[in-house]
């Protein structure tokens, strides 16, 4: 199936609407588009920003591998994944995943798979910066994220 894959790693914001619209533009076989946007939370006012470090060479390659695996598991008609790096303030966008398919089940499952795998496989690390100006800790990986990724194993 023709499934264009777009992966970008960038410091600046993305246009979720334009990315989603692009996956169904000019075609009439897409019946479902799922868009996931992950945002930076203030954690009850504690955070001034999250700083996202990444492995420049590997980040795009790894996300592309994950997107290609999604396209091989589900009948997708398009996959877009964009991940920002650098300093992101509360309310700012961090990650975007868009999937398009004829039917909603494939689009939903593929988007969840992509996010679960991104969380545990894409080489990004979050560091907290506090509102009092102090540098916080590196965010710890969670068991919940590992379990979420584990359910797709086969």
């Amino acid at each position: 199936m023709d499934c264009p894959i777009t992966v970008r790693i960038q410091p600046g914001p993305f246009d979720a609407a334009a990315e989603a619209a692009r996956l169904s533009a000019g075609r009439t076989d897409v019946g479902a588009v799922v868009t996931f946007t992950g945002l930076c939370r203030a954690e009850a006012g504690r955070l001034a920003a999250l700083e996202l470090e990444h492995y420049p060479g590997m980040a795009e390659e790894e996300i592309r591998r994950v997107a290609e695996e999604a396209a091989s598991r589900w009948p997708l008609m398009g996959v877009t994944a964009i991940h920002r790096h650098g300093r992101i303030p509360p309310g700012g966008d961090i990650v975007l995943v868009v999937t398009a398919s004829a039917h909603r089940k494939a689009a939903f499952e593929a988007a969840e798979f992509l996010m679960d795998y991104l969380k545990t496989r894409a080489p990004f690390w979050k560091k907290e910066h506090h509102v009092d100006g102090s540098e916080g800790d590196w965010v710890a990986a969670t068991d919940a994220d590992d379990r979420a990724a584990e359910r797709w194993r086969r």
Binding site: G38, L52, E53, H54, Y55, G57, M58, E61, E62, H83, I94, V95, M115, L118, K119, T120, R121, A122, P123, F124, W125, K126, K127, W138, V139, A140, A141
Partner: protein, 83 residues
């Protein structure tokens, strides 16, 4: 070979990358981590819990028993927290 470090592994070692030539008996990623841990306090700190540090060879995730022969770039980093 080129070694690159990220997040708190980078902070503990105190540098983002370096060129090193481990001895021939260092054959796997786990052996490389153990050899690095013996190079000084900062490395020992970075690898104090070797089970938690992840590795990639030439930009692909690998397990601790992966052979390092032929690797151009080996990365060590904490579990990922992107997304």
């Amino acid at each position: 070979m080129k070694l690159v470090y990220f997040a708190w592994v980078r902070e503990r070692i105190g540098k983002p990358e370096e060129e090193l030539s481990p001895p021939a008996e260092v054959r796997t990623v786990a052996e490389l981590a153990a050899w690095l841990a013996g190079r000084g306090e900062e490395y020992a700190y970075a690898f104090e819990n070797p089970g938690i540090v992840r590795a990639a060879i030439d930009r692909k995730h690998v397990k601790p028993d992966a052979p390092i022969a032929g690797a151009r770039e080996i990365a060590f980093f904490p579990p990922m927290t992107g997304g």
